[in-house]
Amino acid sequence: MSAKISFRNVSRQFAHHDGASFLALDRLSVDVLEGEFVTLVGPSGCGKSTALNIAAGLIEPTGGEMIVNGRAVRGPGPERGVIFQQYALFPWLTVRQNVEFGLRIGGKKASERRAIAQRFIDLVGLADFADSLPKVLSGGMKQRCAIARAYAVDPTILLMDEPFGALDALTRVQMQDQLLDTWSRERRTVMFVTHDVDEAVYLANRVIVMAARPGRLYEIIPVDLPYPRTEAIRLSGAFAEIRNRVWRAVYHQSARPPDSAAQDNEREIR
């Protein structure tokens, strides 16, 4: 299988107002395979969101190459759907109009737009709220609407930036199950940024652990648990074992990152 998303020595430097600069991302090299679900986890300042935004085409790398579908990234594209932590729904549009937004830009006919939008509104369980404005929706419902909106334009890649970060713990677990359910039915390549270790392990084929100052790859940990992921898996010993390993990688990072080990790991799994 070929790499769908390829970070090749991708770096990003940000300039401060006082002229000093800081390295948000230092030579990240990771391949994400087609249909894979990878999560990026790490302490704040590890560059995980920066990496995602570079893949989305919202930030340009200052070094290295960002390759998606075999081509260098030049700005955002409809083949890459992005889900933001703050939902980013257009508050003046109804759920349906939000979901249709990308389809309208894509030049789809009204009847076609409506059919596609309805399908994804149903898929995320918002049929009863299709004609409501975002202000009446709960946080979880807003994020489901954002997911439907991203899915509607039929991207082959989903980039999710702490999408459940603002939700309460219970809603979060429900959203994780729904996301996996949607993903199993509408298979996409997913890159998912989170700071929640449990979430990272529960969702992913592979967990990419990053380190901070400068933001860089620390370790890639495979999650050899079957899908569909269930509560039984979440509470299993095998899950706990992987979770503990990721936890230690995130919270007890050694001074020297096991970069080489990470690379070996990657080759080993795929």
Binding site: G77, F84, F90, I105, K135
Partner: protein, 265 residues
């Protein structure tokens, strides 16, 4: 002074009247204010006209058609200046918010002229534009333009960057982002600017008419002053207040309608 004469000044910040009880309280307060005014005039024998005298004069002026003619003259100037000001302010505000170059070029002028009360421009306007309608409309235009342009500009630069990014990742290019994100997102700001602009337009027209006009509510007051005709002055003031309030409510209704999507605290 009566309550209603002060209405235009406070109406810009007034909250929409909600509920029947609130409305009842408002009516009670207005009646109370008029009663107080009547009592003050009859007890202390101050040199002000009583509510009855003012009402009588109002009927007189309405019957003769003079009040309506004055009102029309003032309203015409306000609407002309307001329309011109808003029509120019919205594109200029968008330009300033969207293109940093336009902002750099325009902002110094806007900020500078904002510091000059529009009324201070009247002498210059009369000297250069004559004593016709032009200088008065121009001064109102200036007042409306300056308040609306700042509001529009603030609205555009205040648009949530995440919304712009959300549109971009859905395939929107600049023109689409402008039309489908920037314009709707900044509408609430523009409407607030329009309301403030209308308030200052109304304030400016009366003052302009006091200084130089042959018609309008301000002119009528200035004439009445010469003859110590306080009742006519009162009628004019109350008319100005009611009209200003009515226009503000109209804009508020429009604002509520167009921005009902906003999450209100």
């Amino acid at each position: 002074m009566s309550d209603s004469a002060e209405a235009p000044a406070t109406s810009a910040t007034a909250r929409p009247w909600g509920g029947r009880r609130q409305l009842l309280l408002n009516v009670v307060a207005i009646c109370g204010g008029i009663a107080l005014w009547g009592a003050a005039v009859s007890f202390r024998r101050v040199g002000l006209p009583s509510p009855e005298q003012v009402a009588a004069r109002a009927i007189e002026l309405i019957r003769s058609g003079q009040l309506f003619a004055d009102l029309l003259a003032s309203l015409g100037r306000v609407l002309a200046g307001f329309a011109l000001g808003v029509t120019l302010a919205i594109p200029v505000g968008f330009l300033m918010g969207w293109y940093p170059i336009a902002r750099g070029l325009i902002e110094p002028f806007v900020q500078f002229f904002r510091m000059i009360p529009p009324l201070a421009v009247i002498p210059l306007a009369i000297v250069t534009m004559g004593i016709g309608e032009t200088p008065k409309v121009f001064v109102i235009f200036l007042a409306v333009f300056l308040s609306s342009v700042i509001a529009t500009f603030q609205g555009v630069i205040g648009v949530d960057k995440t919304l712009i990014n959300a549109a971009r990742v859905l395939g929107a290019k600049d023109a689409t982002i402008f039309r489908r994100v920037i314009i709707p997102a900044s509408t609430p700001f523009i409407l607030v600017g329009m309301r403030i602009g209308l308030g200052s337009a109304w304030a400016t027209v009366v003052a302009a008419e006091l200084i130089a006009a042959q018609s309008g509510l301000g002119f009528r007051m200035q004439q009445a002053e010469l003859y110590y005709d306080l009742a006519t002055i009162f009628v004019s003031l109350i008319t100005i207040g009611i009209l200003g309030l009515a226009m503000d409510r109209l804009l508020l209704a429009l604002e509520t309608r167009l921005t009902q999507w906003q999450e209100r605290m």
